[in-house]
């Protein structure tokens, strides 16, 4: 054994010991936690369906569409424009080696409408909207406002959850369509200025490359992404406990969960939808 280490301001981490039983228990707890969450989200979805059939709050849904859709326009616009321009720079750089920089528009437009437009928009809007929903409902939960809704004879799911889930589900495809247009326009600006092609040539490439089924591939995925954002945000908010600290940690959890769910969901949706594209 060597000499003991001198004492300093930093404590040494305890040595890592491989403990199979502890590891198995930790994995088991995570698995149970995940299944409970999945069950809660599924049950909330079921309650949304029952509640919406009983009474649908159109006015509240429209106001949520304003918050989720219209107010997410700037973040969608900026993200799409810059991602479109960056992708064009990257593809031009790669294609130049093969003398094909003229055709960057084909690659950018196809990858944008099928994948990047829906996924990036969903992750960014999901962070903004999902966190907002969780914080709002969580604050209502810790100040007993959700109990008050029930005590006054109303249904919190119908009043709070259904409008948000429906608004997110319907707003996301619109945002994705906007992202597609903005992203491809950004790509066109870079492609035409850097390579010297005309906007018409660029648009011809886009139109001849992207067909309706590829456009719909992205749009269909965006409906699901919108649903994920709405339901995860609401489920997170309704289950917040522990005062303002709970609201903070719940909001963070929602952002992480929404992003991961969108990416995992994207994989499976792509797998299902590709044969029809």
């Amino acid at each position: 054994m060597g000499a003991p280490l001198p004492e300093g301001p930093f404590k040494l981490a305890p040595p890592l010991v491989f403990a199979p039983a502890e590891l198995a228990r930790a994995i088991g707890e995570r698995l149970v936690g995940f299944l409970s969450w999945l069950g809660a989200v599924s049950m909330l979805t079921g309650r949304c369906v029952v509640s919406a059939r009983h009474r649908f709050e159109l006015g509240l849904t429209v106001s949520q569409m304003y918050y989720i859709g219209i107010q997410s326009f700037s973040i969608t616009f900026l993200t799409a424009a810059f991602v479109g321009m960056i992708m064009t720079l990257q593809f031009q750089w790669g294609l130049e080696r093969f003398g094909a920089a003229l055709y960057a528009g084909k690659l950018v437009s196809l990858s944008f409408v099928m994948e990047l437009g829906p996924t990036l928009t969903a992750v960014l809007v999901g962070g903004r909207v999902g966190a907002g929903i969780t914080a709002e409902l969580g604050s209502m939960a810790v100040t007993e406002q959700i109990d008050a809704i029930r005590a006054l004879g109303a249904d919190p799911v119908g009043k709070l959850v259904v409008p948000r889930v429906v608004a997110a589900t319907l707003s996301m495809p619109v945002l994705v369509m906007i992202a597609n247009v903005v992203g491809i326009t950004g790509a066109m600006i870079i492609n035409t200025t850097a390579v010297g092609i005309t906007p018409r040539f660029f648009m011809d490439q886009v139109v001849t490359t992207v067909d309706v089924s590829e456009l719909m591939h992205g749009v269909i995925k965006s409906f699901f992404f919108g649903y994920f954002i709405g339901i995860i945000g609401c489920n997170g908010g309704l289950n917040i406990r522990g005062g303002t600290v709970g609201v903070g940690s719940g909001t963070t959890r929602t952002v992480v969960t929404t992003s991961i769910t969108i990416l995992i969901g994207d994989f499976f949706l792509t797998k299902v939808l590709l044969p029809f594209t």
């Binding site: 100040t143 007993e144 109990d147 008050a148 029930r150 004879g153 109303a154 249904d155």
Partner: protein
């Protein structure tokens, strides 16, 4: 039935038991709240449930209107077994029981008018003029005329409680639940809220269940006391008998020897 009509005739006489808790068990995980709680509430009385913090006083109120489910035992309100009712059927019970929450629980995004109108709209009041009239009436009752357009954030703590009370009574409840109605208020607002609780009983002939650990207020407003201790009701009786209670913890609590913190 016209929902905007005056309160319907009541099918019980003053002094009839209208709410019963029998052998109620409730736990949150390993945290056991009740182990066989019994309590009767009689029509027209104001009963105050006293007990230290964390004894489950607020849980009692929430179990009564089905916001929380008892694990076992029986809770009846107006002859209906609350523990067996589905959420939709519970709404009929909640129509008859108003609740003032500890922090008033006003909806931040709605004006005072819309907060008070909320239960009215939920229960099919369609005419905005009638709704406005009722909002004005209940605000007058709680001594806050003319605040309809204010937002909850603009109200003081005492005003929030009074608006919360106005919202609770808007739909003509037969029972009002008060969860710590005087907590966090200055002495003048405490007096005002206590007077309002008495006024509600006198003017509206409602039954009141008050949960508090504010003993001065409890003596001011109560017809009866019930002491919640060690996961059950250990004593219930008339206010004038509480000093002679034969249960040691009641005497100690009244004397301030059992902590409320």
């Amino acid at each position: 039935m016209d929902p905007t009509a005056n309160p319907p005739a009541r099918e019980y006489a003053p002094g009839d038991p209208i709410i019963r808790f029998r052998d109620v068990y409730k736990a949150f995980g390993r945290n056991v709240i009740y182990t066989g709680l019994d309590l009767d509430v009689f029509a027209g009385e104001t009963i105050t449930v006293i007990g230290g913090s964390g004894e489950g006083k607020s849980v009692l109120l929430k179990c009564l209107i089905g916001l929380l489910k008892a694990d076992s035992g029986s809770i009846t309100a107006f002859g209906h077994e609350v523990t067996r009712l589905e959420e939709r059927d519970l709404q009929q019970i909640r129509l008859r029981i108003g609740m003032l929450f500890q922090g008033a629980a006003l909806f931040d995004s709605l004006t005072v008018r819309d907060n008070i109108a909320y239960p009215l709209v939920e229960h099919s009041w369609k005419d905005p003029a009638l709704i406005d009239e009722r909002v004005g009436e209940v605000l007058e009752l709680v001594g806050l005329p003319g605040v309809e357009k204010m937002m909850p954030a603009d109200l003081s703590g005492g005003m929030k409680k009074r608006v919360g009370l106005a919202r609770a009574i808007a739909i003509h409840p037969e029972v009002i639940l008060y969860d710590e109605p005087t907590t966090g208020l200055d002495p003048s607002n405490v007096k005002r809220i206590n007077r309002l609780i008495r006024d509600m009983q006198d003017k509206l002939q409602v039954t009141s269940i008050v949960v508090t650990h504010d003993m001065a207020s409890a003596f001011d407003i109560s017809d009866r006391f019930a002491m919640l201790y060690d996961k059950k009701i250990v004593w219930a009786g008339r206010t004038e008998d509480v000093h002679d209670a034969d249960v040691e913890v009641v005497k100690n609590f009244i004397a301030g020897n059992i902590g409320t913190a």
